[in-house]
Homo-oligomer: 475 residues x 2
């Protein structure tokens, strides 16, 4: 369907909202906007021509994101019924928009060695700049451009605004009416996917008063702002910084658990027990548990975006030491987990060992494999010539390494293994039947990288086998 046809059909006189980028945020944001209970919008999702499969799927009844949140399908079906959501790569879509929401990626290029040591990194703004330029080449002069992408602080004022103005001037349009807002999402893929957009606190700002007001007005039609009031910050630098600060804090807190997890192993104590004891203090209630590492699109890069911008956008002499270190320590964690496996089971070599990885996504009960810590763990196993198989109830195909992943846990547990690794904390693995099956195997070594096993499980498994848990020096 062409854009004009779409707009004439059921969407006559509706405000057109264009979402740029149909990834984990943009696709879901699109259906949330299409289902606003406060205003009837026509939503056009724009992605690059290379993403034609996603675009076609959306237009043909197949939503690109699998999720345990039933609301995803519900919202998508409703948008089909209403006929107010179209996907396209046609950039003329921007010319109809009263609001353009920027939900594209902005990546960090990491230069790391095979052990996960981050030697250097760079932020290439060009793909982002090009995407913004396409908006400027097509948009109306009074559009609201709402940037949701996590950007290096300073980007709206130092990058987005000049590009848009440049393009408007080329088109002989006024630069006085353009509105640029920034409001970061706090999307959590998983069972609360939709709620994490619709029913959660939002921080926003604009490059000027008009921009901030327009952003506020629009967000109020999308988000349950009565229950979750909006917070306005003074300028876009502030909201951009808030987003990367938030994620840097979390990344650093995870890195803290990483280094104490090693300590606990050396000192023969159970870090889980310690964390539980300390979490009773309200000031320490977000202390993290040990784990195989950090994955996902945000925590693995946002502190670096922040650090990069500090020097490149604000001419600072110093990087963000503590925040950058968070990323560095976390990046090494899967490699450490791999070494731990060999050491804990006293294995000189894992060549030809049959290893089953239970879970490949970066988060429990989510099918997202982007920057999953299981990836370096898997690659280390393969590099050591182990025979590795993988299972994940939420991942059929592991795109990052082009691997088919099994969904048949029973079948996998009927096979024989040298080592079974719990590498994601999916609910399916917590089923007593799983423990019971593994406990009946003989000579299998069980590595729990994220504390999925409880005390009873461990006793049960240790009858025939050997269990080791990252962050637990007591077993």
């Amino acid at each position: 369907m062409k854009i004009k046809e779409f707009l004439n059909k059921k969407n006559n006189n509706k405000d057109v909202i264009v979402v740029q980028g149909l990834g984990f945020v943009g696709a879901v944001m699109s259906i949330v906007v299409a289902n606003s209970s406060k205003k009837d919008y026509a939503v056009i999702g724009v992605d690059r021509k290379e993403s034609i499969e996603i675009i076609d799927n959306i237009n043909n009844g197949i939503f690109p994101i699998k999720s345990s949140d039933p609301k995803i399908d519900e919202y998508y079906q409703k948008s089909i019924k209403k006929g107010n959501f179209l996907a396209t790569y046609d950039t003329s879509a921007y010319s109809y928009a009263s609001v353009i929401i920027v939900d594209i990626n902005l990546d960090v290029q990491k230069n790391s060695d095979s052990q996960g040591n981050l030697n250097s990194f760079n932020v290439d703004l060009n793909p982002f700049k090009n995407a913004i330029r396409t908006i400027g080449q097509n948009c109306m002069e009074d559009v609201l451009i709402l940037v949701e992408t996590t950007v290096p602080p300073g980007t709206c004022l130092k990058v987005v605004k000049p590009i848009i103005e440049e393009e408007l001037i080329k088109r002989q349009l006024s630069v006085d009416k353009i509105k640029i807002g920034h409001s970061y999402e706090r999307v959590m893929p998983g069972p609360e996917y939709i709620n994490s957009i619709k029913n959660f606190y939002r921080v926003y700002s604009g490059i000027d008063e008009n921009s901030a007001l327009a952003t506020e007005k629009f967000l109020k039609t999308i988000i349950s702002t009565k229950e979750y009031p909006l917070t306005r910050l003074v300028n876009t630098n502030a909201t951009e910084m808030a987003k990367v600060l938030e994620n840097s804090y979390r990344a650093m807190n995870i890195a803290f658990a990483v280094e104490w997890s090693r300590y606990a192993e050396e000192a023969g104590v159970n870090l889980y027990e310690i964390v539980n004891a300390i979490r009773m203090r309200p000031t320490h209630s977000n202390l993290m548990y040990p784990g195989i590492g950090v994955g996902g699109y945000c925590l693995t890069k946002d502190p670096l975006l922040a650090s990069w911008a500090k020097i490149n956008h604000f001419s600072s002499d110093n990087n963000l030491e503590q925040s950058e270190n968070g990323v560095k320590i976390n990046d090494k964690m899967p490699h450490y987990a791999f070494d731990f496996m060999k050491k804990a089971f006293a294995l000189e070599s894992i060549t030809n060992k049959k290893i089953l990885l239970l879970g490949v996504s970066y988060r429990s009960d989510v099918g997202d494999t982007r920057y999953s810590p299981v990836e370096p763990f898997y690659l280390n196993c393969v590099a050591s010539k182990a025979i590795v198989e993988t299972h994940d109830p939420y991942v059929q195909y592991w795109e990052e390494i082009n691997l088919k992943v099994s969904q048949d846990l029973d079948e996998k547990l009927d096979m024989s293994w040298d080592i079974i690794v719990f590498s994601a904390a999916h609910s399916e693995y917590k089923n007593p039947k799983v423990i019971s099956k593994i406990s009946k195997m003989s000579n299998v070594k069980v590595l729990d990288t994220l504390g999925i096993l409880n005390e009873k499980d461990i006793v049960e498994l240790n009858k025939n086998n050997k269990v080791k848990v990252l962050g637990r020096g007591d077993i």
Copy 2:
């Protein structure tokens, strides 16, 4: 009064509890034990002969710690009335004890340059070892030694136990009945001083089952364990680690605020506003505000104790990078605040400038100046030949630098100053009269190092003067 006399007088047949160390923890712990509602104890506080002044004061009706908590005086007066609290340097006190609580200091020796850069550090265990030895030379063979001192993980098993056993053997006593427990306090000097001991969660452990049971039994007579249940950890390594982990976490979180505070100044944003916006997320509710730095006895050294023990007690190859960095970043903060003052007010030199520091203690509404961040700030001012005066409602004499501190705020605010620095967030400074007085001065520069001023104050002060706030790039 002699110990025997004390024990014969009103304390016949009472269990004798000896508290070793009469500092910020030991002195208050003593009166809490003396006022147990569950058991009638005779309490003897033992300190070194050099602390004779403190000992004499306690025995003569003068409690050594000034506090805003009225319960301190109440508890102390009750113990006088009951006649069940004696202070002494006579180490024979240990021979009467059924429980000996170790509340002495264990210091870290920091080697830092004049800019606060921590070049190296060391932990000298000898004073601690000597104190433990005195116990071994005097105690009964079945005493419970309850270590509350923050120690490098591993200390109870690797240091305390061998020393006590060695001394018992020398005295031809059995080593089988000795009990050693570890339970760390979470004392907070300030208005909740007593509650922070009596009404708060406790973690405990013992070197064996008997030790843990005895520790539990004793703590139950001191702490409101119904409301704040005890948590038992598996061994003393675990509780020792829990304590330093807890404080390392806090120190690291403060260091995080430090580095983002500088960023906020560079980017022209208000970090307070950002922190407030982010703290709405339950996972981020303990995000710290900017400040002049970290002080007090714990956060400035505990991460280093942990890091030291990792290498020296558990033969690790690695220190605790993230936790050590926390201390390093925090140590530099007061120096940064000093540089900020010069830069923010565009002062080439502060020689002969008249500077008033409001607050010298390390914490709001507390008189504790140990490792106060105001100390390096003050010393930097003096080294630059400024004329510095200090005020603090809770500190009459600043022991660390041998300085008389004024308590007369009105008098100080009637004098003329070039710069007034809010260096502690005492309630007295939040009085509108203070702002009103300062706002009437002309040509005074006001530096707020911890966000004590609200927006209204800032507008008011900026009428005649110039205000700068650490962590706020927006003014």
